[in-house]
Symmetry: C2
Subunit: 311 residues, 2 copies
């Protein structure tokens, strides 16, 4: 967090200062002009009128409020549905936020009702999607002798289980990346002034539900539903990737822990036996020592720890 903080300060602070200086230079210039006109030309309301304008503008400058445009208001039906979607998914761009008391209270109630519902259905659907991806992958694995081995033979490599798993993870991440990068092109093309990086950044900030809202899609009527569809599929994909990654990592962690325990088995047993010898009256249980060592019999880590001789 501190590292990130230092990084952002280093890159964002100078730009911030620059933008600050440019604005206040301009502000100074116009204020001086207004005062000059009033003094020189005896026009008493110039400063007053200008000050009124500044006062009107200032809340927008110093807050995240933004000025609506009459030909494209936000809080029409499309915009409101879009807003509800960002609340439900906890994206919460916040480019627009409820300004009335009733709107704020309703926003809380709406979120209380819909967020848990949405998240639990997303979790269920993500798990189902992950299972689908898993079965496709296992089908590919079964049929790999047919298709993949041609490549592997050409490359002169043996098919290695660990390498396969690596490629599997890379494949899933590539799927997610492809989804982000592909639709980033669409978003960058649809919006004037967005670079491709802006498109990628927007897609990422949306699908991670961070929702900074510094970039907001400009949506026509039907596009709201396309956007909801896009983000829903994207969130599902992220959910299933998380699901699959978790499985892999927990499997990997278990493997690491198992091998660590296996390596510790010698010292543990030595310590145990020496303590048995010291106590004199204790012996290793007969059945355990007769069972022999088989790593298949290790059902859980705690078993190994409690009785290293049985493993």
């Amino acid at each position: 967090m501190l590292f990130g903080g230092v990084f952002f300060r280093h890159y964002e602070h100078p730009v911030e200062l620059e933008s600050f200086e440019r604005y206040w230079e301009m502000h100074e210039k116009v204020t001086t002009l207004a005062q000059q006109i009033e003094r020189d030309l005896d026009h008493p309301t110039v400063v007053e009128d200008f000050q009124a304008y500044i006062d009107e503008v200032m809340p927008y400058l110093t807050s995240k409020k933004s000025l609506p445009t009459l030909h494209d208001p936000f809080w029409d039906l499309e915009g409101s549905v879009f807003f509800c979607w960002t609340i439900m998914t906890t994206i919460g761009y916040g480019f627009y936020a409820p300004s009335t008391k009733t709107g704020k209270i309703f926003c809380i109630f709406y979120a209380v009702m819909t967020v848990p519902l949405f998240l639990s259905s997303l979790t269920t659907l993500s798990a189902a999607m992950a299972n689908g991806i898993r079965s496709v992958a296992s089908w590919l694995r079964k049929n790999e002798d047919h298709y993949c081995s041609i490549f592997f033979h050409r490359l002169g490599k043996k098919s290695d289980a660990r390498k396969k798993r690596k490629w599997y993870i890379i494949g899933i991440l590539a799927l997610g990346l492809l989804y982000t990068l592909l639709f980033a092109i669409v978003f960058a093309r649809e919006h004037d002034g967005w670079s491709y990086l802006d498109g990628v950044y927007f897609c990422f900030i949306t699908l991670s539900t961070i929702g900074l809202g510094d970039y907001l899609p400009t949506l026509q009527e039907h596009e709201v539903f396309l956007f909801i569809l896009y983000s829903f599929v994207g969130l599902l994909l992220v959910g299933s990737i998380t699901n699959l990654m978790q499985e892999f990592f927990s499997a990997g962690a278990e493997k690491v822990a198992h091998s660590a325990v296996r390596q510790l088995k010698g010292p543990i047993q030595a310590v145990r036996e020496s303590s048995f010898r010291l106590q004199g009256s204790f012996r290793l249980p007969k059945q355990a020592s007769e069972r022999g060592v088989s790593s298949r019999q290790v059902s859980s880590l705690s078993d190994v720890w409690k009785n290293p001789a049985a493993a």
Copy 2:
């Protein structure tokens, strides 16, 4: 979503139009004034200078960008650490967002590294906290004859398991609500111009990780870490409430499903037996009919469905 959309449009659209009209009225007035000065008083740069000011101001008016203030810049170390925290937790207020290319790219990488890490540790810690709450509750349940029964006896009510569960859920939700409402007072008091509703709204939008960012805490150096602590404990609490609620709801759903299956058992068995009779050669398995009916033996719903006589 549509209902929510209609609601927000009804309450937010008029306010939006009003703010739009007020701004453009002011804008019109000042522009006319500038033109008038230029025409009447032969001052050739008034319109030009004013237009430059408008051009400078407009991006702030029509985007979520906000003007930094020199005596309280955002992208200092505290602000940057605060920003990193909002990315990591996916709150993403977005009041300030990276404006440089490097900042955007780093933001993506930072989120990719920290969000899964944060979420998985939050899940683990929430589960631990939920277990803690559970054991406190079970301790209370065990010792309730001592303390609670006095109240129950006075009220003349029998202690009912379902009622207890209800009170348990209410208790947990009350804990979460208390946390929100209590700190809402702190936030409302710390910030001028925030009503108590604004404080509650801010706390809720933060702890749900929606993070609209229309309200942002103004934090001094040490307060950043207090805020991080506040939101971390809050997110833990929300996580453990979700954990506990899930358990209760799945238990409740199982109970409902069980009782539905129990009610269906009669008709299912009748259909099965009549089909057996029709087929003539089939009989109910002997062990199953000898086992007798005991709801304790019902290990899963699928068992009941496959073999209703055994349940």
